[in-house]
Symmetry: C2
Subunit: 269 residues, 2 copies
Amino acid sequence: MSSAVKTLHLLSFFSATTPEIGLSALCRLAKRDKATTHRHLQALEEAGFVEQNPLTRQYRLGPALLQLAQTREQTVPRKESAIPVLKDLAEKTGETTHASVLSGTTVFALASYESAQHSTRVVIDLDKFPLHATASGLSILAFGPGDLFEIAANNLETFTSHTVNSKASLEEAVQSVRDTGFGRTIQSFEDEVSSLAAPVFDETGNLAGAVSVACVATRFSPELERKCQEHLITASRDLTRGWGGAVPDPIEAIWAATLNNSKALDSTS
Amino acid sequence: MSSAVKTLHLLSFFSATTPEIGLSALCRLAKRDKATTHRHLQALEEAGFVEQNPLTRQYRLGPALLQLAQTREQTVPRKESAIPVLKDLAEKTGETTHASVLSGTTVFALASYESAQHSTRVVIDLDKFPLHATASGLSILAFGPGDLFEIAANNLETFTSHTVNSKASLEEAVQSVRDTGFGRTIQSFEDEVSSLAAPVFDETGNLAGAVSVACVATRFSPELERKCQEHLITASRDLTRGWGGAVPDPIEAIWAATLNNSKALDSTS
DNA sequence: AACCAATGGTTCAAATAATGAACCGATCAA
DNA sequence: TTGATCGGTTCATTATTTGAACCATTGGTT
């Protein structure tokens, strides 16, 4: 691992809930030497990626990030184009929606939208997503680059009693996504949340990310699932179009088959 | 210079006008070896700070920046608090306004606001600011940490025929800012722009950045300058308050004296 | 088809920079 | 005073970074 990556990794410990971190605390979090961590922080400070709170001497994220993010958003305005789609999806399903993008082997949360329809709703913390425990992650494993599976399988952190905890069960879950076209997790990341997700594609027809609906688990009925599936399809199409691509025909075919099946089930019940 | 800093420096070549850069082009820009640059880009890609356009193989800024910037803004919402102040300043002066923050030895643009009052107006490119050629930079040199002067003096890039080009004339310009409380540049960064700026302070009473008005040079009359000075004072107070601090008394005294002087000049003319 | 000049990407010995245990001074609480 | 933090620094050892030369591919020109 290059020293630059190690340095940048320090940034990932900052979050909305932990906005300022002292040198010693960061050493413990990153499990690295104090001298090294200090030099890394100085490098980040020189580049404007962190700054020191002059009062507490603690470190926090720096202003250079704002400029770079602004440039990124001007350049590749995926977030901007995603928001209206997420809003629409949230209003139609009455649940919280969000979109994420795959970059390298990491899933980044892009944006989320909370439906105002219910007073209980899922609030999504825009952090990195575990591939094996979220509906978005499973969608990405199913339709994204093949080398992701190994990485996910070697990193099966357990979040709830429903989290998949073996390579075999992960394989099974991914296969089910390939069969249905939808990622699906029942209380596997957080106990109160069940999610459905669909893959999103870019201008090359490769997987670019995922869009998902996170439902409060007690509301997650077959009817709601059907509704989510329908609207996820249009949301995925819209996002894919917004990012310059088109949903590949095989995916469309799988979705159509899944919807037909659940319609058949409905009518027999 | 640490390799992490060199790596991060690559990011600064991306801008709204140059959103995607190929490996070779980036080597030329950064004046660095191809193998090194490639390894640096891989490190940045691993961290999500850049990604490769799958079609052109060119690199562009990555999605990790969006998340970090969001955290930064949630945490230290300077930009958010600055925008209404800049808007007000722009409306009262009829010119383009902007705010910048000092981090380490670099001035970062935070936000700008264009007045809709005139059809010709200054459009500010949110890039890094040269300390010696902008009103904001001079304000920061005058009231910021002392070690900045040497850095600025060793980096006197010439932009127009009015740009200061010697250590002595820079010293003179900075002294004038200390005397008046306002940074002032007449067509020194771009030929059509004259600017006035005032320092902004943080919760420790140290300089945190600057706020400025960028006027179309042909409109820059003594009357407009007076108006800008008045409103810059209130803008600096507002921003400083928004960032948890208060404008130091000596600065307030200098401003009061400057305003008195120009009032006296007005009445004699 | 052959050629040339780009491009992105890789190799490996030499050179340089990263590393971390031990250390320093400051602050705070007991 | 003592002891336990904190942020920060030192320096010999070690491991990573470095870059000239190289390869493979692409796209335009003769």
